[in-house]
């Protein structure tokens, strides 16, 4: 290779050797500077200095050893070697870019049958609404977060880390750290963590600790850490025939659990006795199966809550409900009671006293029932009464009434004659269907705001026996979400939970011996036969 004249310096062997040494030092300085820059940002000045020095040394290397470099590049090995280096580096760069793009523009889909790793709508809402960074510190001994747990992957720490990872993938403002309290007692002490497992959600000066490893607990702690209060759903006791804590078939403990899962606080209130009026914390009240007439003072307290404080209420009724509720709901444009709703076409187990609402019998126009219609969900109401909009609406400017669920068009009616519902036939005095079983009322208030009421002509659908079946849970929770103005949370809930199995001891023994011994030995035996034949 012909060299430019300016580079034709006299050849001094020791300079060439020095150049090579400087080249090696330049390479080391470059690597050290790069590592220092990445690992110790505090020493940024030093690292940049090293990188700069490596550049200078590289120039000196080229200056002193230019002949050797030029000679090497002039050979076949040099040219091909350089070519290979450039091609491999280019491919490395392409791989790097592809992964960078893949990391930042990923598509992620939970394919499990039960959507086990899909965050619920309340969590998604909380994460999407984050305004400030939140960091979760998960305090677990290292053995509980080992990526290779010898006893399976179901240890609590592993599950918690997985859950927190889902949170961090949803929001850029959410991050988490798994802390081994034995190795990092300082961080544990900072948050006053004295028991494990514990997860602390920290945002600015606020922090919230939870010891329960579940999505509901994490989200509740997250909301508290960012200063949000959980909304309270109040069950009216005394008036209601159902209790939020009753775990029997007729009780509402499942519904209460589901509300807690959606990050509501559930409490019971008793008007006029322990509670003077509906407490301020109540975002909505639930009256399930009214068992007796409202007293004047109770009616006044409910009016004060709904009208003056723009409250909301969910009424779950029964055919034999007291008359005072019929007149109370009429004031809000809802016509309730008057008989038993029977359906000879759309019904459960051929029982006309159990009308079932097919997907298209749910009002697709209303936010509560639209998901039920869209996702082909069925709801059913054992022994229900009517809960319909008053027709015509006496105050259309003030009250917006929407029928949510109707019985079938053919052969459904409101049995008013007092016949045995099981065998009754539609008579001339009965009201022909379709009959509204659920109605929503939105009452405008001056100067602004509104009261919200949902009335369902049945309370059994949300009892423990029927709550988890079909779309009943969704109707109940969607109603509460609408009443508490949490429309964004309205959805269809996938029944979650991993699929467990309960092998017997004999089955376990078979699993162990066949997996660890019999099967591998059989393969090894085939190998031995192959070896024997080839021998």
């Amino acid at each position: 290779m012909r060299l430019p004249r300016v580079l034709s310096l006299p050849r001094l062997p020791f300079l060439a050797d020095l150049g090579l040494a400087l080249g090696a030092v330049a390479l080391l300085a470059l690597v050290a500077g790069g590592l220092l820059y990445l690992l110790v940002p505090e020493l940024k000045g030093w690292s940049l200095g090293l990188i700069g020095a490596s550049g200078v040394l590289l120039l000196l290397f080229l200056l002193f050893s230019y002949r050797e470099v030029a000679q090497f590049l002039g050979t076949r090995r040099g040219r091909y070697g350089l070519n290979t280096l450039v091609v491999v580096s280019t491919l490395g760069l392409i791989v790097g870019i592809a992964n960078f793009v893949g990391y930042n523009q990923s598509y992620r889909q939970d394919l499990t049958a039960t959507s086990l790793f899909t965050l619920n709508s309340r969590t998604i809402r909380a994460l999407d609404d984050l305004a400030d960074p939140v960091t979760a510190f998960a305090f677990f001994p290292l053995s509980q977060t080992n990526p290779l747990p010898a006893s399976g992957e179901t240890t609590m720490g592993y599950y918690a880390a997985g859950l927190l990872r889902e949170y961090s993938l949803r929001s850029k403002l959410f991050s988490y750290r798994v802390v081994d309290p034995e190795q990092d007692p300082t961080t544990a002490a900072k948050f006053n963590v004295v028991q494990y497992p514990s997860v602390v959600f920290s945002s600015g000066a606020r922090s919230q600790l939870t010891t329960d490893v579940s999505e509901q607990s994490f989200t509740a702690a997250l909301l508290r850490a960012v200063g949000q209060e959980l909304k309270t759903v109040c069950y009216l006791t005394g008036i209601s025939g159902r209790s939020s804590t009753d775990a029997s078939d007729a009780g509402y403990s499942s519904a209460s659990d589901a509300l807690v899962q959606e990050n509501y606080v559930v409490r019971e209130v008793s008007l006029g006795t322990t509670d003077e009026k509906v407490p301020e914390v109540c975002w909505t009240i639930v009256v399930a199966q009214p068992g007796r007439d409202l007293t004047d003072s109770e009616a006044a307290l409910l009016h004060e809550y709904l009208d003056d404080r723009k409250g909301s209420a969910l009424f779950l009724l029964e055919p034999e409900m007291p008359g005072s509720f019929t007149s109370f709901l009429a004031e809000y444009g809802i016509e309730a009671g008057g008989g038993v709703v029977l359906d000879g076409v759309s019904r459960v187990r051929q029982d006309q006293t159990r009308p079932a609402a097919q997907p298209d019998q749910h009002n697709v126009q209303h936010v509560i029932t639209a998901p039920l219609s869209r996702q082909s969900k069925l709801t059913f109401y054992p022994l229900a009464t009517r809960a319909a909009p008053v027709d015509p609406n006496p105050e259309p400017q003030r009250i917006a009434l929407t029928s949510l669920v109707r019985t079938s068009l053919e052969r459904s009616w409101l049995e008013t004659g007092g016949e045995d519902p099981k065998t009754a036939e539609a008579g001339p005095k009965d009201i022909r269907g379709p009959i509204s079983i659920a109605t929503a009322a939105l009452v405008k208030r001056e100067p602004s705001g509104s009261s919200r009421i949902v009335a369902v002509g049945d309370s059994d659908f949300a009892s423990n026996t029927f709550f988890r079946l079909e779309g009943n849970e969704d109707l109940f929770l969607n109603s509460v979400n609408w009443l508490t103005e949490e429309e964004k949370l309205i959805t269809i809930r996938v029944k979650q939970g991993p699929r467990f199995m309960v092998p017997t001891q004999r089955e376990l023994t078979w699993i162990l011996y066949s997996s660890v011994a019999f099967f591998p030995l059989a393969v090894a035996l085939v190998g031995a036969l192959v070896w024997w034949r080839r021998r």
Partner: protein, 243 residues
């Protein structure tokens, strides 16, 4: 690219694998190792009807055993002097590498196919397992296996010593497996390099698929790393023409 040539090379290597006891030993060891972890996960108080219990240990076993399968592929050819013959044959370097890669991958796939006995047990004992996480679990094991094989062939191309080739490949794979642990030990959580080092870790890219979640980030990672090592192996083989 001549697919027939790739097929012929792969076929020869597969026959060679099944004609020697080594493949069966590797398969038996892998099965016993995986079986132990599967059985352990089943002996929990309320075991989940899933094969996840053996996926991570199984992947680790693949990373350790795949270099044993691949170590001789090119190193032996170099040592015996047959590589020169192969390089002068009317086949491209890429076809040689892909043929040998395919053969080793078939071995890995057969080994994994034998572990289908585990999900069979889940169905047999009435576990009603969710099929999707099982399928995605096997997909990720196949991807890890393909990656281990591509790194193994790369190691085998670098040297004529089989032991050195296996150690080199295993070392490289262990660096990729333990990358996130290294960054955890270093501490800190919001440094870009930590994210990058964590990203390199194989185990981090297994988690979603092991749980039945499809994540394109993981697919991009596995496919590009496999392609990268295969390409570099082809270039390393090419250097023999001008070194």
């Amino acid at each position: 690219m001549n697919l027939r040539a790739i097929g012929i090379i792969a076929g020869k290597e597969v026959r060679s694998y099944f004609g020697s006891p080594m493949a069966y030993i590797v398969m038996a060891v892998f099965l016993a190792f995986s079986g132990f972890f599967f059985a352990s996960s089943m002996s929990q108080p309320f075991p989940e009807a899933t094969v996840r219990g053996f996926l991570f240990p199984g992947a680790l076993a693949l990373l350790l055993l795949a270099p044993v399968l691949t170590m001789r592929l090119l190193a032996e050819e170099q040592k015996m002097g047959t590589l020169e013959l192969l390089l002068t044959a009317p086949v491209r370097d890429s076809e040689i590498v892909l043929g040998k890669f395919l053969a080793s991958f078939i071995m890995v796939a057969v080994t994994l196919a034998l572990t289908l006995y585990f999900p069979f047990l889940l169905f047999l004992f009435g576990g009603d397992p969710d099929l999707v996480p099982i399928l995605t679990g096997y997909l990720v094991l196949l991807l890890v296996g393909a990656m281990a094989v591509s790194v193994g062939i790369f190691g085998s191309a670098l040297t004529s010593n089989q032991i050195v080739a296996a150690v080199l490949s295993t070392g490289l794979l262990m660096v990729l497996w333990l990358a996130n642990l290294t960054s955890n030990l270093a501490g800190g959580s919001e440094i870009a390099w930590k994210t990058a080092v964590d990203y390199l870790a194989i185990s981090g890219h297994m988690q979603d698929l092991a749980f039945g979640i499809l994540n394109t980030t993981d697919l991009v990672y596995f496919v590009t790393v496999i392609a990268f090592f295969l390409f570099v192996t082809i270039r390393v083989l090419e250097t023999r023409r001008w070194r």
